[in-house]
């Protein structure tokens, strides 16, 4: 682990900060949520990676989407994602958020989640075990290091398209657009 290299700390404390203190708002959707509590408690202890569950999206920077997302829950997911402060990363659990997984033909589940909100990382496995989650966390570290985990930047640039996709799915949305035109520049 490269956590204690002081040189890296002084180069970019912000990036190191984001790496080693990922406050998670886990969104209890689908069957993945069963995996989160054991990862927090004594046997697997997510805290040693600096990963702590927090109550509100305002305080979080990692968004775990655990399992399939139904049409109704997507509204809540989008709203939570938009309420998170800026450098935010999302990780999808299992195959359902990728392409709908075994609910590929269901009328009520979202097939490709990344059409609506940007996803930085996926964890394979029909509900990955805590070890897989920690591996994902380490991968996320490398992504952050290489500036590749830039889902939130993509969301900001082509917010119009994301918004269009969402409105195509829901018709009129009842909350104002997050980024109006002028503050994008």
């Amino acid at each position: 682990m490269d956590r204690n290299q002081l040189k890296k700390w002084f180069e970019s404390p912000a990036k190191m900060g984001h790496k080693y203190s990922l406050h998670v708002v886990y969104f209890c959707t689908g069957c993945g949520i069963i995996e989160i509590p054991p990862s927090i408690t004594a046997r697997w202890d997510a805290e040693r990676f600096g990963v702590i569950p927090v109550a509100t999206p305002r305080q979080a920077n990692l968004f775990l989407i655990t399992g399939y997302v139904s049409v109704k829950t997507l509204k809540a997911v989008i709203r939570t994602y938009e309420q998170m402060p800026e450098p935010k990363f999302t990780v999808g659990f299992g195959s359902c958020p990728i392409n709908g997984g075994m609910y590929w033909d269901s009328y009520n589940t979202i097939k490709h989640l990344d059409k609506y909100i940007p996803i930085d990382g996926w964890i394979a496995g029909c509900m990955p075990r805590p070890e897989a989650i920690f591996i994902a966390v380490t991968h996320l570290w490398t992504l952050i290091d290489k500036e590749m985990a830039d889902g939130y930047k993509k969301y900001k640039e082509n917010y119009r398209y994301y918004r269009a996709n969402q409105e195509q799915l829901y018709g009129k949305l009842d909350w104002p657009p997050l980024f109006s035109e002028e503050d994008k520049k």
């Binding site: 009328y107 994301y162 996709n165 799915l169």
Partner: protein, 170 residues
């Protein structure tokens, strides 16, 4: 069980009753007698309406509504499986008009069941106070639980139509 069967047959005309092995009675009845039989059974002690479900007989072009009733155990009785008595009241309504009367005034807890049936099967129940959508977010031309609803086609024209961000950008 037998006494109940005799009692029902005596008080209702053209009623078919058969008792399955695990002490459950299924009663098939015409749709206009449903309300009276429900009242009758409620007075007999079957106050618990467990569920209202519906089967879509697409060939006979009919919906079959099933009212599952069971009796609460007395306070002093401790619970054992054999004693548990459940009754299924079945009736057939036509598929085109898909209309039926509500049973809320007999069993208040029928309200969400009827809303679900309305949303997923398109059966509207007259007299129901709030037939608003319960689970689904979007509106469907053909209610999804009907047999003639093709989910794959629906997925193709709704979800696949939504382009990914790169395509939309071009």
């Amino acid at each position: 069980m037998k006494s109940l069967k005799k009692k029902l047959e005596s008080s209702f005309s053209d009623i078919k009753i058969n008792i399955t092995d695990d002490s459950r009675i299924t009663v098939n009845i015409k749709k206009d007698a449903v309300v009276s039989i429900l009242n009758f059974l409620k007075n007999l002690g079957y106050e618990h309406l467990a569920l209202i479900s519906c089967i879509d007989w697409i060939e006979e072009n009919e919906f079959e509504l099933v009212y599952i009733l069971s009796a609460y155990m007395e306070k002093d009785q401790e619970y054992n499986e054999k004693e548990k008595k459940t009754i299924l009241v079945k009736t057939r309504i036509s598929r085109e008009e898909s209309k039926f009367i509500t049973v809320i005034n007999i069993f208040e807890n029928a309200e969400p069941y009827e809303r679900e049936l309305h949303e997923l099967f398109g059966i509207n129940f007259e007299g129901h106070p709030r037939l608003t959508p319960l689970f689904l977010e979007r509106d469907y031309k053909i209610p999804p639980f009907r047999k003639d609803f093709d989910t794959r086609k629906y997925v193709k024209d709704v979800f696949d139509k939504i382009p990914s961000i790169e395509e939309r950008k071009k």
